[in-house]
């Protein structure tokens, strides 16, 4: 559907209400926050991956003109309620807590860990001063490789921990031993999978300002979770709720890392309190590479048992995740990887060991997909190997294993956070695969392969099915308030980093109140306008905030009719909301505008409210989601491989995507396409590399490659709509599916292209050098075989 002018009635592809300001350069990002007498911050960061701090000499830095303060852990500690920032989410899998410090106390545990905070009159002076600080670091043994780090006698990534295994669990159901005992085929594989950082175009950034007159610490923060930030600041700085306001202004992309509270956020707030002056810190790209969380490496051992027809009987194995030097957030990534092995398939038994390993690298946390792309990659690779072993078509082996539509809702006995089993709420996976193959012209592939061969290229086509857990609870807060002006303010704890959060919520409210979109204003990411809030992660906001908006708007709509009924002396049942007014059915001249109805219940001095109706035309909903809607889909990738160089080029890309009811197809397309581009990056380009000493090797965009426009194909998106039965809007999240399916589909296509050489893709990313080494080895093996 083409974009059209703002109007009411969902679903539809409306212009994004965010775009007018952003396209005119009138957005207000973190660096646009300007305050009088603003000071600027820079950090001195650890140059070693693991070292004891023997001394810090700040004298020369302090004496540089323009420097206001040079702060160490010892300077900030008196403001804090504890030594460490309490960040860890509750988890039974943690063997011990490893919360970070605001600045290094005595043991630096990764390159980039902040040790000293400089406050100066400009960022440039702060950087000059940072170069003058002398930190005496005494190097310690470094832990970089998870497979070595879990062995007894390995050096420890942190001296304050018993060992490197910070958490461990198993994802387990069914009788795996019996499944393997009766299997006709068992396939064993090993994978080394990497996933990079968030790489939002705007890095992190914080502006903190304490106003003694109002006794208020205001923190502007480029974050996905302002309410969590506020709560941590209250806890750590011994403040009360009324003393802290956190605002996430326009945020130039999040993609996961900005859901994590980083030590710099506390350090800047503490410095503003200490100096009684506003302080700004804008992360530069180097800092983003070394000190913002990312996903990084997983080491997998997998065994799959199938029967003679290629039907899955069971999976067992282990995944170890390179978790970095502390636990900044949750333990989601490898857990999601393991649970996503089930994917869209009937899997009777699973026994998977999941291990989180500390290393001397920046801590990990989720980036778009949150471990699911890796799990999906593994199950799809294994199904391809099953097809190969049994001589089956790759689409057929999937078809035989897909969960049939009539089994929905489909439960897998894996316990979720609320204690319930993992339940796929709706969807038609076989139909999704069928539509995707059709849309991608799967059957026309042989002709395209012939054409590529003539140009010396090996062409392959691949597919992947996937599920995505979305809409994680418990709730998101939305208040819908109609004012006497007739304008509608929607205030929410949901946040916006480019996902069209405002447009989506406005659409839901405008539809129910039957007003034009331009009568709706949305306030996101401000703890002062929404007292409760959770934030952006797990593709959750349309599910959580969307349904809260729906519920709150329905309450407001009913109240509007009730007020009008009193004023017009008719029954509310005879009224309807049309064009922003309550009007008598069949008599459109008899009506009251929403603004007038709001005025009536805002009160007039001394007069009782009409009909005894409670004051104010507003309602708040904290709709509590039940379960987690599972979005799903199928990706088909078609690639050309240059066998002489190992270069992979994506020629065609098709997505069939099912996120339940689609509120705004343009917005969902944007999410899916952006997600696929992230997935292309993870598959072919993005690789945060470290040497044996834990030194990051890829700290510029010349070395860490993002998928540029030149290497991204046209992405063809098709929607299926299997409404979620779990919420009134019938929606599921759409933010990550594009990323989850892409590595598996592209990997499948690359393997297919190189089928004559019998190559298995076991590593991500697939770089030309890596792939060419495999091609060369396979060619040698073929030549050797031909000789004998």
């Amino acid at each position: 559907m083409a974009a059209e002018a703002p109007g009411h009635g969902t679903p539809g592809s409306f212009f994004r209400m965010e775009d007018d300001a952003l396209l005119r350069g009138k957005g207000r990002f973190i660096d646009d926050v300007k305050l009088p007498n603003l000071l600027h911050a820079a950090f001195v960061r650890s140059a070693h991956a693991h070292a004891m701090v023997r001394g810090i000499d700040t004298a020369e830095a302090r004496s540089l003109p323009g420097v206001r303060a040079v702060l160490t852990y010892a300077d900030l500690r008196p403001l804090m309620t504890g030594d460490r920032i309490g960040l860890g989410l509750p988890s039974g899998y943690l063997r011990f807590h490893v919360d970070p410090f605001v600045l290094v106390k005595d043991e630096a545990t990764y390159v980039g860990e902040p040790i000293v905070l400089i406050i100066a009159e400009s960022r440039r002076v702060a950087e000059d001063a940072a170069n003058l600080v002398v930190v005496d670091l005494d190097p310690l043994p470094v832990v970089v490789d998870v497979d070595k780090a879990v062995v007894n006698g390995s050096p420890k990534a942190r001296l304050d921990c018993p060992d490197n295994v910070v958490a461990r669990t198993s994802v387990k159901y069914g009788d795996t031993a019996a499944a393997f005992a009766r299997a006709d085929h068992v396939i064993v594989e090993r994978f080394l999978l990497h996933k990079g950082g968030g790489h939002s175009i705007e890095g992190r950034g914080v502006v903190a300002h304490f106003d003694p007159a109002s006794d208020l610490l205001t923190v502007w923060n480029s974050t996905q979770m302002p309410h969590r930030c506020k709560s941590i600041l209250i806890d750590m700085l011994a403040l009360a709720e009324h003393q802290v306001r956190v605002i996430a202004p326009d945020v130039g992309g999040g993609f996961g890392p900005k859901a994590v509270f980083h030590p710099e956020e506390l350090a800047i707030a503490a410095a503003a309190l200490l100096l009684q002056a506003p302080v700004k810190w804008i992360e530069d790209r180097f800092e983003n590479f070394v000190a913002a969380v990312l996903e990084r490496d997983q080491s997998w051992n997998v065994e799959v048992a199938v029967d003679a027809d290629g039907r899955l009987l069971g999976i067992r194995g282990a995944v170890r995740h390179d978790h970095g030097s502390c636990t900044p957030y949750g333990l989601a990534i490898p857990y999601n990887s393991a649970t996503n092995l089930v994917s869209t398939y009937v899997l009777p038994a699973l026994d998977f060991d999941v291990l989180w390993c500390l290393t001397n690298k920046v801590p990990t946390s989720s980036t778009r997909g949150a471990g699911r792309p890796q799990g999906t990659f593994v199950i799809e690779r294994m199904l391809d190997l099953v097809a190969r072993r049994l001589g089956l078509d790759r689409t057929e082996v999937r078809r035989r294993n897909l969960i049939p539509a009539e089994k929905m809702p489909y439960s897998v006995p894996i316990k979720m956070r609320d204690g319930s089993p993992m339940t796929y709420d709706s969807g038609d996976y076989p139909e999704s695969q069928r539509q995707a193959l059709l849309a991608a012209d799967w059957d026309g592939f042989p002709a395209r392969r012939e054409a590529s061969l003539k140009a010396g290229r090996m062409r392959g086509i691949g597919l992947a099915n996937y599920v995505e857990l979305t809409g994680r609870g418990p709730f998101e807060s939305v208040t819908v308030r109609v004012g006497p002006s007739g304008k509608i303010l929607v205030a929410t704890g949901a946040t916006a980093q480019g996902q069209s959060t405002k447009t989506t919520l406005a659409q839901v409210v405008a539809d129910i109140l039957h007003v034009d979109l331009d009568r709706v204003q949305v306030s996101c990411g401000d703890t002062a306008t929404s007292l409760l809030g959770v934030g952006a992660f797990a593709s959750r906001q349309t599910v959580t905030a969307g349904n809260s908006a729906c519920e709150a708007a329905r309450i407001v709509a009913q109240k509007a009719l009730d007020i009008a009924a009193v004023l017009l002396e008719v029954s509310a049942a005879d009224l309807e909301l049309v064009d922003g007014a309550a009007r008598l059915k069949g008599v459109p001249e008899i009506k009251r505008d929403l603004g007038d109805l709001a005025r009536a219940v805002n009160g007039s001095i001394g007069f009782p409210l009409p009909g005894g109706i409670p004051a104010g035309l507003f309602a708040t909903s904290n709709f509590q989601v039940q379960g987690t809607p599972f979005a799903s889909g199928t990706h088909v990738a078609e690639v050309e491989v240059d066998p002489e160089t190992g270069l992979v080029e994506i020629e065609r890309y098709t997505v069939v995507h099912d996120c339940g009811r689609v509120l705004n197809p343009t917005v969902v397309d944007g999410q899916v396409v952006g997600g696929v581009v992230h997935g292309i990056g993870a598959t072919l380009f993005e690789w945060m590399q470290y040497d044996a000493f834990g030194q990051p090797l890829t700290v510029t965009y010349a070395d860490y490659l993002l998928p540029s426009a030149d290497v991204v194909p046209r992405i063809d998106v098709h929607h299926m709509e299997s409404p979620s039965p779990l919420n009134p809007l019938g929606v599921k999240g759409a933010g990550e599916g594009g990323t989850i399916g892409a590595p598996a589909a592209i990997g499948c296509a690359v393997e297919h292209a190189l089928r004559p050489l019998d190559i298995i893709i076991r590593e991500l990313p697939i770089t030309p050098a890596r792939l060419h080494a495999q091609i060369r080895a396979a060619q040698r093996a073929l030549r050797e075989a031909a000789k004998t």
């Binding site: 530069d284 790209r285 060419h772």
Partner: protein, 290 residues
């Protein structure tokens, strides 16, 4: 990521620039800044004075004289890329420029800046190994001219003295029956090459190769000519066997690898890219026996 403090100078004449260069402590020339500005921001370079050559009219421009195609050192890559004169007299330069960065960087990047920065993976130093331009270098005491082959000293290091400025690059006229090709392997369009190869073949009388030049970037700290391989071709008739022997020899040239692209892979790419370049040259040779 802010540069360390420096003083900025923008002289309006070459003479003034040379005087500043001689007089100032720890100066650095700014010739487009597409490499230098990031180095300043990362504080990998910390000059006290930056002398911007952008305002010096005499360093801009393209002309053709008996000596060949002359290009002022501050002429932007974009200007060269769009120049009909360059297209006529030195098409290899334009072919290489198509791979240099992106249009926005080519709008600022200059030929002199690129040659003097001498990145091991850069395209302009590579094709200069094949095209053998003469470099005009101005110093306080006078002007000297040197062949490009003598210019590189090591990685990111040229023969330029601290008080000298490269002013002009003159590409000699190409003999008749000269054919060129440029091939590059990079991860994305516009990236620095992992390996790049430039080839120039001049056919002489009786169908014999009169001159052969093969240069490779990405295997040594400076783009390098494969002279032994060239000798296999010169004075010989063009033949597939000869080309095949050249490619094998090219592949055997030692390469320096790194964590992403090991030596063996780079050597293999030399063979693949040289093969593609030779195939294109051969196509231009037309009916010559292959």
């Amino acid at each position: 990521m802010k540069p360390a403090p420096f003083a900025y100078h923008a002289p309006g004449s070459l003479r003034a620039a040379l005087d500043l260069l001689a007089a100032l402590e720890n100066p650095r020339l700014l010739a487009g800044g597409q490499s230098l500005m990031p180095m300043l921001n990362y504080r990998l370079a910390t000059p006290d004075h930056l002398i911007d050559l952008g305002n010096i009219e005499e360093l801009h421009g393209i002309d053709v004289t008996a000596a060949g195609l002359g290009i002022g050192s501050m002429t932007t890559q974009r200007t060269i890329q769009n120049s009909p004169l360059v297209a006529r007299h030195c098409p290899l330069l334009i072919e290489a420029l198509d791979h240099v960065g992106h249009q926005t960087t080519r709008n600022r990047g200059t030929i002199g800046g690129s040659l003097c920065h001498l990145d091991p993976a850069a395209e302009l130093p590579l094709v200069s190994q094949v095209l053998e331009p003469t470099l005009t270098i101005a110093g306080r005491v006078g002007v000297r001219q040197i062949p490009f082959a003598a210019f590189p000293v090591g990685q990111l290091t040229t023969q330029l003295e601290p008080d000298e400025i490269l002013t002009r690059v003159t590409f000699p006229p190409q003999p008749a029956n000269t054919h060129t090709a440029f091939e590059e392997f990079a991860r994305r369009p516009g990236d620095f090459a992992i390996v790049a190869v430039a080839v120039q073949i001049t056919m002489g009388a009786a169908g014999l190769v009169a001159d052969a030049r093969i240069a490779v970037g990405g295997i040594e700290p400076v783009a390098v000519r494969l002279r032994e391989a060239e000798r296999l071709l010169v004075g010989q008739p063009w033949s597939a066997d000869r080309v095949s022997a050249v490619l094998d020899l090219a592949e055997s040239h030692p390469a320096e690898g790194d964590h992403n692209n090991p030596a063996e892979y780079r050597q293999h790419l030399v063979k693949v890219l040289a093969g593609r370049a030779f195939a294109r040259v051969q196509a231009k040779l037309g009916t010559v026996d292959a």
